[in-house]
Each structure stands twice: as structure tokens, then as C-alpha cells.
């Protein structure tokens, strides 16, 4: 029996996963994205949850960096998963499900920023803080140096104009093309190219100064 066949789950008429035991969940962890996405598109909720667990941390990290808010980020992840579940049928290449999920995260995050701006004329996107700083591995100064450079980049990123920061995160975190970013932000691909370049020049300068 193939690994996938042994990891299959059954969904009853109401769409409930009736064999979603922890063991089955663990086995699904080993199944490639393409198979999970295909099963999920057929209505397999266990396969869908496995995808959500696998890519959830990346989706959450991206949404946090884009919205600047942990609470909004979790809402974004939830809404992304709802939308993904409804639209999985439209995903042409199941193997590309990760990028597809990230594109939805990008759009939803930008929607959140727009909503927030409409509700209050304040930009708290600068206030991204580490609510749960992770323990640093015990290793030489290399790690300390690397992590302090990362901290310096966070500070430099927070100082960017919002439009530039969005372009940078959608490019570097979501790996979106200029055209995809243009669609997400509702601007031209040329504007994306320009903003991204300005963001990079500013960030590179700050990092040189920091060094």
C-alpha cells in the first residue's frame, strides 16, 4: 500500500472527516503538497488541515510582517484558509499551493491594512514587536551577530514608507512576481519595480551604516 493510500481519510456525506485520528494526521505530514491539495479539492478536510498546519507558520509570519499586528495576522490566516477551501477547485497546479496560499495572505493582509486605515487614521504597522521572542540557540557569536543584524533589518524595515515596505515583503517573503504584487497592491508593475528598488537601496544603506 502506498504511503498516500495508507494516509487517506474518509469523509462522510456531510464532509466530516471520520478517520482523522492523530496517527492519520501524522501520516499526512509526509504527503507532498500536490497530493494534499488534490485531496483537499475533493473535500478531504484532513488533507486541508495538514496543508494549513504545514504552511500556517509561514502564512502567519508573512501576515504579521505585512499587517504589523499579531491579532490581525491570525484573522488573515483564518480568512485565507476559508477562501482557500472555497477556491481550491480553481488551483491549476496543486504543487504550487504554497505560493497560492501566500498570494491570498498578501491580498487579505493588504485588505486589512486598508480597512484599518479607514477606521482609524493611525498607522500602527510600525509597531510590530516580538511578542514571543524565541529562545536563541546556544552557539557562538555568529548567531548573536546574525540575530542582531536581523534586528537591525527589522528596524530599518519599520522606517520605510508603507508602500515600499509592502512591496519588499511581498517580494522577499511571498516571492511574488512584479505583476502579482501589482495586482495585490492595485498599482502598475513599473511602480512595483520602482518602489522595490527604493526600498532595497534604503535598506542596503541602513545596513551598511549599521555595519
Amino acid at each position: 500500500m502506498s504511503q498516500w493510500a495508507s494516509a487517506q481519510t474518509t469523509v462522510d456525506r456531510e464532509g466530516r472527516n471520520v478517520t482523522g485520528s492523530p496517527t492519520a494526521q501524522h501520516q499526512l505530514d509526509l504527503v507532498p503538497d500536490a497530493l494534499l491539495a488534490g485531496r483537499a479539492a475533493d473535500g478531504d478536510t484532513a488533507a486541508f488541515e495538514a496543508l494549513a498546519r504545514r504552511h500556517g507558520p509561514l502564512m502567519r509570519a508573512t501576515a504579521r510582517r505585512l499587517t504589523g499586528s499579531s491579532a490581525d495576522a491570525d484573522d488573515v490566516v483564518q480568512e485565507t484558509l476559508v477562501q482557500a477551501w472555497k477556491q481550491l477547485d480553481n488551483l491549476r497546479d496543486p504543487a504550487a499551493v504554497r505560493g497560492w496560499l501566500l498570494r491570498i495572505v498578501g491580498s487579505r493582509s493588504i485588505d486589512y491594512l486598508r480597512k484599518r486605515r479607514n477606521h482609524a487614521d493611525l498607522d500602527d504597522a510600525e509597531n510590530l514587536v516580538d511578542h514571543h521572542p524565541r529562545p536563541r540557540p546556544e552557539d557562538p557569536e555568529n548567531n548573536a551577530l546574525s540575530s542582531s543584524r536581523v534586528e537591525a533589518l527589522k528596524a530599518a524595515l519599520a522606517g520605510l514608507p508603507e508602500e515600499q515596505r509592502r512591496c519588499w515583503v511581498l517580494k522577499e517573503f511571498n516571492d511574488q512576481s512584479y505583476e502579482e504584487i501589482a495586482l495585490t497592491l492595485n498599482i502598475s508593475a513599473d511602480s512595483v519595480r520602482g518602489r522595490l528598488a527604493r526600498a532595497r537601496v534604503t535598506l542596503a544603506r541602513r545596513m551598511e551604516e549599521w555595519r
Binding site: 464532509g15 509570519a61 484558509l81 477551501w85 527604493r198 545596513m207
Partner: protein, 141 residues
Amino acid sequence: MNTPRDTLDCGHSLAELSAYLDTGQIADPAHLDSCPECQAGLASLRNLSALGSDLLRSDVADAGSGNDDWMQSILDNLQLELRPGRSIPCSLTIRMTPCGRPRDPSRHSSVPWLTACQAQLPASADCMATSPLLAPGSAWR
């Protein structure tokens, strides 16, 4: 190494170099190999890109595992919305023969329960021609 100005003495801009890193396209690729300014600019942008990857890794680690409570909580909320399951196309109009079989099964091959029901019905090849109850093309929903 200093980060070069927006437009370099050689005439290239950092915007061009930035786009080159993403797309691999630039007007005169041969120039890049021989121009120290462009090389310095590219090196600086590549360093930044590598640091961006470090930041992403750090952010993903801070986001926690997909098996943690936060994801379980999201999935629990989602479960309410997923419970009805993927919708079967209810607006589908199935043209039936008088004996209860779809007139054109090949059109509905993507509806598994219909295919299953159909398999359990007795074959009746001539029912469409002989039944007076339904005119050809009558539809049941």
C-alpha cells in the same frame, strides 16, 4: 564597501540592478562583469536579500509550529465553516429518463453519488422511447 548612489557613474541605476536580481534581465549583461560599481551594487543588494531570508526564517520561527494551539484554534473556528463540506452543485439540472436514469450520464460524471445511484438502477435501454409520461427534454431538479 559603501553602497553606491542611486545612479552609478557608469550610467546604470540601482533600480536596474534590483530588477536584474529578480528577473535576470538587463540591457547589457556583459557590462556587469567588468564594472566595479555595478559589482559593488549587486553585492550590496545580494547581501540584503540574504539578510531578508534570515529575517523570514526568524519570523517563521517566531510564528510557532502549525501543531501549536494558535493553529488548532483557527482550525476549530474553521471547522464550523467546513462542516457542511464541499458543496455538491445543487443547481445542476439532470435530465432524467422516465425510469429514473440520467438521460446523458456523461455530462454528470463528476457527480460521484449520481454515478453510484445510476449503477444501482436496472438497465432499461428502451424506456425513453416507450414512456408516454415525459416528453423528451423534460427536466427534474
